[in-house]
């Protein structure tokens, strides 16, 4: 059992009440992606899936579930999962950071590929990372918004 605290409430995986939010990524290579999130962002690998199950990681306040594409399955009969088209994006993980320059330098030194260096925009300083499958990860530090 792992747990985090948000807004004075504790969230566990698996949850004993209510629900806990995880983020699912379709990846080409489970091991490669799990090692990447461990090495660059300090995620904790709970399982690598052993070849027939998804990998589970804990990353800051959420859990990540990584698996290869496929489908459909009986519970999503029309849906196929695949790795993304890198230039047409709908949703992504957004890392809100306390010190963007420090994160930029640390994560870059660990092998993260940043699209640009941090750039000030809309009350925040922002930049983006590409993960091994081409997912973008926003990295942002608020400068004048309450909920940046």
């Amino acid at each position: 059992m792992t747990a985090v605290q948000v807004d004075q409430k504790s969230y566990e995986m698996p949850p004993r009440e209510g629900f806990t939010v995880a983020h699912f990524l379709t990846v080409a290579d489970i091991d490669r992606s799990a090692r990447y999130y461990e090495k660059v962002f300090g995620a904790r690998i709970l399982s690598l899936g052993d070849g027939n199950a998804p990998a589970y990681l804990q990353l800051a306040n959420i859990w990540m579930i990584l698996n290869v594409g496929g489908g459909p399955t009986p519970d999503k009969p029309t849906v196929t999962l695949s790795v993304p088209d890198p230039n047409h994006i709908n949703s992504f993980m957004n890392f809100r950071v306390a010190d963007i320059q420090a994160c930029y330098e640390l994560w870059k030194s660990r092998g993260a590929e940043f699209i640009t260096a941090p750039i000030p925009k809309y009350g925040e300083i922002r930049c983006y990372i590409r993960d091994p499958d081409g997912y973008i990860i926003e990295v942002g530090q608020s400068t004048d918004l309450t909920y940046g």
């Binding site: 948000v6 504790s10 969230y11 629900f19 939010v21 849906v79 993304p84 709908n90 809100r96 909920y147």
Partner: protein, 158 residues
Amino acid sequence: MSSEQIEQKSYEMPPRDGFTVTHFITVADIDRSADFYEKIFGGRILSRGDSKGASGHILIANTWLIVNVGGGPTPDKPEIILETPPDLNRLNSFLNLRVADIWACYKEWGDKGAFFLTEPLPNSDGWEWRGYMRDPDGYLIEVGQYTQLAIDWFNKHS
């Protein structure tokens, strides 16, 4: 089971140290999406964005959902266009809600107007019961409850 709560780190928005993971989705209508995540999941709307480009922010369980309309490219992502999902049947990543009682969630969220693709079904690996929902833009949301087999596994791997 409090003895198992070994490292309960607290996460904030904006973070005062380290980082906090949030989930961004491109939406057609910020208000509509904020209302959906508030009504169905009991999310707390912290902001609804503004006409100058600010995003909406919703606290939902252990993370924050950040919602904004599509657009781009921007100087910090020069080749990337953000858009709502063009093909609801080809997906890459999604929010995955791990729940304590899937039948209770299925009933409660369904009563509040959530659309489920199927009722909860047992996965063939014996690991979980699962059902999928669509949000107002068609994003898939997985809802899953682990079986005792999986819970025992987590307890060994934490």
